[in-house]
Symmetry: C2
Subunit: 220 residues, 2 copies
């Protein structure tokens, strides 16, 4: 099997996990992360084969996490799921270890810290999908899916100062998510290329909300 | 009762209809339409008192339309509902006629065509709330609320060529709504000031989707 054929086989396996997926983490998210990881990987001189396999497989256990809820980590379980797939496809142990390291650490939680260059790039590409125009679209779509009642409350800047979690309350909104999390995301990226793209997408998002609030007041 | 007091009383009455409203036509929509109508009204030298009253009351029957569905027109019923409110508040017949004309014709459907300057401005302000950054946010939020499965399908430009209605199907997406309707909305506005703001907001939306598709491909 050539490298291209292997990636095609991995893609077929990975896609099976996304039949019922919707919203912010559907198959289009995987495609975007793969594209972005490839771009960053080229600039950072990473192993593009490991990176493409890891990007394709990084969210295979997200559906299970959504169903099972708290305590289940889709990164840890996804790494094991991916290992099974790659063993079945006859991959080398070293390749499997390098791919599953990326998947296990792509959330950068607890002891699962991205150490390889490819793992750092997957982390960056995944985070970048929450920024820019895609980030805006995903945030509003998700808010609607989660039953958000309104576009904004007008209290966001005040509420963002506190540590309280307003998820699924009437105080929650996309702009609160932006003020609390999305506008700080650029500071968490790990690679030089990732940081550069994050700054550009973060600026786009900032300009979007500047226009948004001017329009709220009828000023433009 | 001064003009300011009357508008405050109208606002209290109008708000009662929005207790259970959510999403794209909640009370914040009314506030934005009022702000924008005021801005256009000043530039076009319109009667700002008629315009503010009409903006506050223009969607009072939208909740009933949502509950009752097809055949019920919130503009026609809203005009009658508004008439009852304004009579109760002791308004002059001429003022009531001018306000209810705006409300009845704010959708510009069938025989209900905006004739007065204030009616044309209300139509423009209402349409403008579907454009720009607010338009983007409303469209994605509404898609999520309506159960949309994905951010985009990639088939939008092709599907937009046909007249078929894809609402609530797996082919529907915000970008399809943009390609079919939102990008043409600027050509439907009625006042000079409304047209100028529409062009600006339409350009903003076009730039948003240009960035959106570049990001999909990982190009920025």
């Amino acid at each position: 099997m050539t490298k291209k054929q292997l990636l095609e086989a991995i893609e077929i396996e990975a896609k099976k996990y996304f039949v019922d997926a919707s919203g912010c983490h559907d198959w289009t998210h995987v495609e975007r992360v793969r594209a972005l990881a490839g771009r960053i990987g080229k600039a950072e001189d990473a192993d593009l084969h490991v990176l493409a396999a890891a990007a394709l497989l990084h969210d295979v256990s997200r559906g299970e996490e959504m169903r099972k809820g708290g305590g289940f980590c889709h990164a840890e379980h996804g790494a094991e799921e991916a290992r099974n797939i790659l063993v079945r496809l006859g991959c080398e142990p070293d390749f499997i270890d390098r791919v599953t390291h990326c998947i296990r650490t792509h959330r950068k939680r607890g002891k699962n810290i991205p150490e390889s260059l490819e793992a750092k790039i997957l982390f960056d590409a995944d985070k970048l999908d929450s920024l820019g125009a895609i980030g805006v679209g995903r945030a509003f779509l998700f808010a609607g899916m989660a039953g958000s009642k309104t576009l904004y409350t007008g209290n966001e800047k005040e509420l963002a100062k506190h540590d309280k979690d307003y998820s699924y309350t009437n105080e929650d909104s996309v702009f609160l998510e932006y003020e609390k999390h999305l506008k700080h995301l650029k500071d968490r990226l790990l690679t030089k290329t990732g940081k550069t793209i994050a700054r550009e997408r973060s600026d786009f998002m900032k300009d979007f909300f500047t226009q948004f609030w001017k329009e709220v007041e009828g000023k433009c």
